[in-house]
């Protein structure tokens, strides 16, 4: 589904990613762990096309196509989703109306008709139930005045609504208490199928108790320094990242 080859990227002239290789197949859940400043969020932003980041070398192939030249919306339309670490507040646009706008934009890109009101309502009901969100909540303005937990829940709700092929979850656990974490993780697990994939970015192993990854990659100083299974995450929680840095050196 996703193949990243020798990816280098920089922000304002500083190289953050220094040669990333990563392959994600349909049905797989990958986790990327690593210390702060290692490049985890940069990787998420580069895959989704944030133009604040400049790709200097390498390729990102999504379903056989190099997507580096595509705008963020085109990547989203192809089925890439990013759950933001810090979702942006957009007063004046209700969650519900925004979802309709996004769904119709994606449909339009595929030459499909707009979603009907009835269909949309059914989808809103189903997915808000999945994440324990009150329908009234969806009439509120996007992220405006939402608590940290509500914002993250709303991100996963959007993911459920858009039904992407590849979901990237950037520090979805930060700012969540244990109950909210469980709801969010449950949601992600229920949305998981054999034909979609997830890339979970996290600093702590905690989230991976709930979203159990098939692969764990450790990103340190712009490079993946180790790949393993879920046990690697437990080891990292135990020993920290320093032993990997030493190993790398």
């Amino acid at each position: 589904m996703l193949k990243i080859k020798n990816l280098h990227a920089s922000v304002e002239g500083n190289e953050i990613l220094k040669g990333i290789d990563l392959e994600i197949n349909p049905g797989e859940k990958h986790a990327i762990m690593g210390p702060n400043g290692g490049g985890k969020s940069t990787l998420a932003n580069v895959i989704t096309g944030n133009d604040a980041y400049e790709v200097t070398e390498g390729e990102i192939i999504f379903e056989g196509e190099n997507i580096l030249e595509l705008d963020p919306e085109e990547r989203a339309q192809k089925g890439i989703f990013l759950s933001f670490q810090y979702p942006v507040e957009i007063p004046g646009v209700s969650v519900m109306n925004f979802m309709r706008t996004a769904i119709n934009a994606i449909r339009k890109s595929k030459g499909e008709e707009d979603i009907s009101g009835k269909e949309l309502m059914a989808l809103l009901k189903k997915n808000s139930a999945l994440l324990g969100i009150d329908l009234k909540f969806l009439q509120r303005y996007l992220n405006e005045g939402f608590s940290g937990g509500e914002k993250k829940r709303n991100e996963i709700f959007q993911m459920a609504m858009l039904d992407p092929k590849l979901s990237i979850l950037d520090e979805t656990d930060s700012g969540l208490d244990i109950d909210a974490l469980r709801i969010v993780a449950d949601g992600v697990n229920k949305l998981h199928r054999s034909d979609n994939s997830a890339l979970v970015i996290t600093h702590y192993q905690r989230l991976l108790n709930y979203i159990v990854p098939d692969f764990v990659h450790v990103l340190v100083d712009g490079k993946i320094v180790k790949t393993g299974d879920k046990n690697l995450a437990i080891k990292l929680e135990d020993k920290g990242y320093d032993w990997l840095k030493l190993q790398e050196a």
């Binding site: 944030n50 604040a52 990013l82 942006v88 004046g92 925004f98």
Partner: protein
């Protein structure tokens, strides 16, 4: 002969044929004031950012003939779709009765000056209220000019305890039968105790000839009144507008709202003046301005707090593309007696191009010591992170921008109380932003 000379000489010429009616003295005073002061120029503080030179150089026809040939179909695009309203239509300065639905009931009147002056009671009211707002020494030149030339306009009177059951739409057309046309319409709105009215005003040119409209509106609001006034400024890029609106709230517990939506026109200057002459008043001025090309809009507001325990709110949102230029010059004056005043003004602006300009000049002058007054102005660019957020959900950049700009206007749009008008404004915003979007439809009943 420049425009000023032309105006003065044609004034004196036409006076010969005009009856020495109740307004004669006012006209004379007004024209001599205009003669003395002339048109404003950029050296004056309140005109620093707006040059009138490009619009004053035209050779305007001042007294267009009455040769209207417009039909319902011609005017339909400029009406608020689906809105049941009372309608007053003027073409090239003349009232067109067969396109209008004036109303005169026991409790309210909405008609043209020419018709109202034929009714004894209405005539008496016009004579009582016409051109009486604001102290004479503070006369605005454009208002004086209008007063000297007033021939036609709208008279609205709402009797005690009456609520006008439908909004009143005022449509002033220019047909462009003249090469260049100066129009000076006048609106007088008198709202008696415990009465309410909603009004929509629009000036529209129907061809590409230069048109300058110098409009004056006087709103006189008594006790416990609600006046909800909307100005739609979406004219052709060859038309300019000087709007002069004066609000006098002379009875306690009155609320007056003026919303101005400025999307079209070449040069627009909104002179909005309110005097709070009673207590527990609310004066609210709001506006959305979206400009492109070489368009220029200048919002010049003045709220005078003359009595205690009042509030005033000003909230203007501007978005400027290309070489367009937006000005917000807001002035709040709080007299010593006006304790417990709650006044704020806010002007937020987004520049969409490197060459667009926004000037924001909020001013507070406070002589009372127990007030709550604030102001805030921002000028910035679009938030790129927010834009990326919307795009990352599949919304194309252009639509994402439009959505953000629409969101930016929410605090102004949310107080539009006529749903059909709100839908019309939404439509103008989306077409101005070059998208086809339904911004704000309700999905849940």
């Amino acid at each position: 002969m420049d425009l000023k000379e032309k105006l003065i000489s044609s004034y004196h010429q036409t006076q010969k044929d005009r009856p020495k009616d109740a307004f004669h003295a006012l006209r004379e005073k007004a024209i001599s004031y205009f003669e003395e002061k002339g048109f404003p120029n950029k050296k004056e503080e309140t005109w620093r950012y707006t040059s009138l030179r490009p619009i004053l150089k035209e050779d305007y026809q001042l007294f267009p003939k009455n040769e209207n040939t417009l039909t319902q179909q011609d005017i339909a695009p400029y009406l608020t779709k689906g809105l049941d309203s009372y309608l007053l239509v003027y073409v090239d300065g003349h009232f067109v009765e067969n396109l209008s639905q004036p109303i005169k009931t026991k409790t309210f009147t909405a008609t043209s000056f020419s018709k109202a002056l034929q009714e004894k009671e209405d005539k008496a009211r016009i004579e009582k209220y016409f051109d009486q707002i604001a102290p004479k020494e503070d006369r605005d030149r454009f208002r004086s000019l209008n007063t000297a030339f007033t021939q036609e306009g709208t008279f609205i009177h709402v009797e005690r305890n009456a609520v006008v059951d439908k909004p009143i739409q005022l449509l002033y057309f220019s047909t462009g039968k003249e090469d260049a046309l100066l129009l000076q319409p006048r609106n007088l709105v008198v709202v008696e105790n415990n009465a309410q009215v909603k009004i929509i005003e629009r000036h529209q040119s129907l061809n590409e000839n230069a048109t300058l409209t110098n409009a004056v509106t006087e709103i006189i609001a008594a006790e416990h009144t609600l006046v909800d006034y909307y100005k739609i400024q979406n004219d052709k890029y060859t038309s300019s507008l000087i709007d002069n609106t004066f609000v006098d709230q002379h009875g306690n517990d009155s609320a007056v709202f003026v919303h101005t939506f400025s999307f079209g026109g070449k040069l627009t200057r909104n002179n909005l003046r309110a005097s709070q002459n009673a207590e527990h008043l609310n004066t609210t001025f709001k506006g959305v301005t979206i400009l492109e090309g070489n368009q220029h809009v200048d919002h010049n507001t003045f709220v005078h707090h003359l009595q205690p325990n009042n509030e005033s709110h000003q909230d203007y949102k501007g978005m400027f593309d290309d070489r367009s230029h937006g000005v917000f010059d807001g002035y709040i004056l709080v007299d010593r007696i006006a304790q417990k005043t709650d006044g704020y003004q806010k002007s937020d602006n987004i520049l969409m191009s490197d060459r667009a300009i926004a000037h924001a000049k909020p001013q507070l002058e406070i002589y009372a010591d127990d007030v709550l007054c604030s102001h805030g102005c921002t000028i910035g660019q679009m938030d790129k992170e927010a834009l990326f957020y919307l795009q990352s959900r599949g919304v194309p950049k252009k639509e994402a921008k439009a959505l953000m700009m629409y969101a930016f206007c929410t605090s102004v749009l949310s107080s539009v109380t006529i749903p059909e008008l709100k839908a019309q404004i939404d439509g103008y915003i989306s077409s101005k932003l070059g998208v086809k979007m339904d911004f704000d439809s309700e999905l849940i009943d």
